[in-house]
């Protein structure tokens, strides 16, 4: 389906180019929902200017990008707009190819299961048809490229686009089955911001599944592969970190990048949960609550992997969503990445319970963010509580969205093994709840 994809890319590039040339570009690159201290382009320019003046770019609290990205931006600093568009294009194409391969796998498994007659007879309406599976990759690419969040993030020249590209390439390599490349891209993604390390578990599970190694802690083959993969991941991470040391000749970047992400010193409002809480936190308790908030990102990996060990790609989607919601400096670019995956689970639509409310909440909050910001900062008639309320509501909406899809996925799996019309022991109709 190269032609529709090309058309889509051209349309997306046109929209971005039009917005780049308009006066909105300046406005959007100032918005706190779109850029955070970690991925603002202004800071990149500032950091590189400091480097040209012979000063370490990490001096002062301005620049929080990793040295390898300094190397990249050093060449492309004058062509930022094109690079952002190319990054978006790479992400879209990577997601397209990944979802295509995944859908092929899904269809193949479904075909074998149908031939082996493993599904109850009333579940035939739950089957995914080839027609819808055919169009899903294009929908994924469309969801990513034409999503207003992505467009805003690209027009603001936020470096989130490049981070998304690395994560998308990681997903592509994992789904294609190449362990080395997957480990390398995962190491790159972790090197950029620490949170993608939680994607180690779904990638591992997927690769094990692909190699037909059962996920059983007592088997030696499991541990062998796990160690191999972990070794590749840690090895490439070490190599990348060492290489970054050689770029500037100092370890300055570690406190500036990772210390910054983990200890959250900058409390500029954004769409995340950290800023408001820590603005009023006493110093005495700050470390404790930082740990609590940061653990939130990593905490759901193990339980989710145990529950979803047969469905690693869905686990990957959930993990990316959890990272985007609970990371220390989220922006709309991170949200765009996991929202791009939603068409893959479009067959779950009949089981989604809160989709109307969630979409209303997300739409309303996205519209209210600039309004309440204006009221707070410019008009002076609101205060930070208003903006934080919308932030909270937005995050609640996202969490509800993710958990709704989780419920729908598990419910479909349950129906596929137990039949569509569930009956309790006495024969009356039963309903499924997610406890």
């Amino acid at each position: 389906m190269a032609a529709p994809l090309t058309l889509l890319v051209i349309v997306a590039v046109t929209i971005r180019a039009v917005l780049f040339r308009s006066s909105l570009a300046e406005l959007i690159s100032e918005r706190v929902e779109v850029v955070s201290p970690l991925n603002s382009w202004k800071r990149v320019v500032e950091g590189l200017a400091l480097l040209d003046l012979g000063v370490s770019p990490y001096s002062g609290d301005v620049f929080h990008e990793t040295p390898l990205t300094i190397y990249l931006y050093h060449f492309v600093i004058d062509y930022a707009e094109i690079v952002c568009m190319i990054a978006d294009g790479i992400t879209a194409v990577a997601l397209y190819l990944a979802v295509q391969v995944y859908n092929k796998n899904v269809f193949r498994k479904q075909k074998y299961a149908l031939e082996a007659d493993r599904y109850p007879h009333d579940c035939l309406e739950l089957m995914q048809t080839p027609k819808e599976l055919f169009y899903v990759p294009l929908k994924v690419a469309m969801f990513y490229l034409l999503s207003p969040f992505t467009i805003l993030s690209c027009v603001a020249k936020s470096t989130c686009g490049i981070n998304n590209a690395i994560v998308a390439l990681f997903v592509l390599c994992t789904i294609k089955g190449s362990a080395l490349l997957s480990a390398i891209f995962l190491a790159l993604a972790t090197y950029q911001s620490i949170y993608p390390i939680t994607l180690f578990a779904p990638a591992l599970i997927y690769l094990l599944q692909r190699l037909y190694i059962p996920v059983n802690l007592r088997r030696q083959s499991f541990w062998l592969f796990t160690l191999q993969y972990a070794f590749m991941f840690v090895g490439s991470l070490v190599v990348i970190v060492g290489l970054s040391f050689f770029l500037l000749g100092s370890w300055d970047y570690i406190p500036s990048v990772y210390g910054f992400i983990l200890s959250v010193p900058d409390l500029t409002p954004n769409i995340g949960l950290f800023w408001y809480f820590f603005a009023e936190m006493f110093e005495h308790f700050r470390l404790f609550f930082i740990c609590v908030f940061q653990i939130n990102v990593f905490f759901y990996t193990i339980p989710l992997s145990i529950k979803l060990k047969d469905h690693p790609v869905f686990l990957m989607f959930m993990q990316i969503a959890i990272i985007s919601i609970f990371k220390s400096y989220p922006t709309v670019g991170d949200i765009a990445l996991y929202m791009a995956f939603l068409p893959v689970w479009s067959h779950l639509y009949r089981f989604l319970r809160n989709i109307f409310m969630v979409s209303c909440v997300l739409l309303a909050c996205s519209a209210l963010f600039p309004v309440l910001w204006h009221l707070w900062i410019y008009a002076g008639s609101a205060n930070s509580n208003f903006y934080y309320a919308i932030t909270l509501l937005f995050n609640v909406g996202q969490v509800l969205l993710v958990s709704d899809y989780f419920y729908a996925y598990l419910r479909r799996e349950h129906h596929l093994s137990h039949g569509l019309y569930l009956k309790k022991k006495d024969g009356s109709e039963a309903t499924l709840v997610l406890k």
Partner: protein, 377 residues
């Protein structure tokens, strides 16, 4: 010499032909050399009143009385930066509009007809004050709002308002601290914006404001010590407010006796307003000042008089090489003019580039097989 404003050369009468020409020339030469060796060629004054509201009438009157004195003694309006935070003369509550009195019973109107206020009302902020001092103003600022001093300027800075231990309140909404002020003066020194600076402050606990000075050639006077309040002088029952503060009232009285040729020096100024008259103890600080205060004339700071003598004789001057004070980090002139750093672009180290691309190539060949090698080479 000329800078002292004397209108004749004492003891020498140019029409006296009995004196030989060479001795005459020698004397001129000595005076000319003394003039060109002195580091003081012009005077500036920055007079600031930081309080607003009608009941702070006395602060505006303070500032205007010092303004009046320096103008009378010769500093022109172009060399005075007058900052008044509120308009008392045309205030609704002023029963005698267009006047600001310093003595009760309308004895002395310090407002007059020719007051030129440079910063008025809400323009008097800490930021603007510091920008005036350091010269870092936006390019659109008019000349009347700039302190265009150079390294031969003697500057008088007078501040009045409400203050406390280590701060001075501006406009009832912000403060300037003594540290900020000291740093501003240091900036002025490093940018060679003054030769000598006299700082007078009339607020409560005013001595705390000059505690932190560390730049050379600063002399400071304050109306009260730390822990003491500066008190106001007398109310006028017709106007309904206190008209002046005690320190500035007696300062004004002292200055009224000074004329442009006066030889009164700083030691007399330090005696102004003793505790019996002022109730607070005025303080002063001269440790940063190079010259002995007894040799510093009042008119060095409060006045600015030029008396020009025209002579038909040529006077040879010897070049003057020794400097009394060296500026910090003095650069040669060529470097001062072209001080923009050369823009060298940063390049990543070669080892890094080599390592990175080797790794990328290794990964590529590991993933896609060695067979691609033959297509490349």
């Amino acid at each position: 010499g000329w800078k002292r404003g004397s209108s004749f050369l004492p003891g020498i009468d140019v029409t006296d032909t009995k004196l030989s020409t060479s001795a005459f020339l020698l004397l001129h030469q000595a005076r000319a050399e003394r003039f060109f060796r002195s580091d003081h060629t012009n005077n500036w004054a920055v007079l600031v009143c930081t309080s607003r509201f009608w009941f702070n009438y006395r602060h505006v009157a303070n500032t205007l009385s010092v303004y009046r004195s320096v103008k009378r003694l010769g500093i022109p309006d172009s060399h005075i930066v007058l900052m008044l935070a509120d308009d008392m003369a045309c205030n609704h509550r002023n029963p005698k509009p267009a006047t600001v009195f310093s003595h009760k019973n309308m004895e002395l109107n310090v407002y007059g007809d020719d007051v030129e206020v440079d910063y008025r009302g809400y323009e008097v902020t800490v930021e603007n004050f510091l920008r005036v001092l350091t010269g870092r103003l936006p390019p659109s600022t008019p000349r009347s709002k700039r302190l265009l001093s150079d390294d031969h300027s003697n500057i008088l800075i007078y501040l009045t308002g409400h203050g406390g231990n280590g701060f001075l309140k501006f406009q009832d909404s912000e403060e300037i601290s003594n540290v900020e002020l000291a740093d501003a003066f240091e900036q002025m020194w490093q940018k060679r914006r003054y030769n000598e600076l006299l700082f007078i402050i009339d607020t409560c606990q005013g001595a705390s404001m000059y505690e932190r000075f560390y730049s050379p050639n600063l002399m400071a006077l304050a109306s009260s010590q730390v822990g003491e309040d500066s008190l106001s002088h007398q109310p006028d029952l017709a106007i309904g407010v206190h008209l002046m503060d005690r320190y500035t009232f007696y300062l004004l009285e002292f200055l009224e006796d000074i004329h442009p040729a006066s030889q009164a020096n700083m030691n007399d100024l330090f005696k102004v307003c003793p505790k019996s008259q002022c109730v607070s103890t005025p303080g002063h600080r001269t440790d940063l000042f190079q010259r002995d205060p007894g040799s510093v004339l009042i008119t060095d700071f409060f006045g600015s008089v030029r008396k020009v003598e025209i002579t038909m004789e040529t006077i040879n001057l010897t070049p003057h090489t020794e400097t009394a004070l060296a500026y910090v980090d003095q650069l040669p002139v060529a470097q001062i003019i072209h001080q923009k750093p050369k823009q060298k672009d940063w390049h990543p180290p070669d080892g890094f580039i080599l390592g990175l691309w080797t790794l990328i190539l290794l990964v590529f060949f590991r993933t896609y097989g060695i067979k691609h090698l033959k297509h490349i080479f």
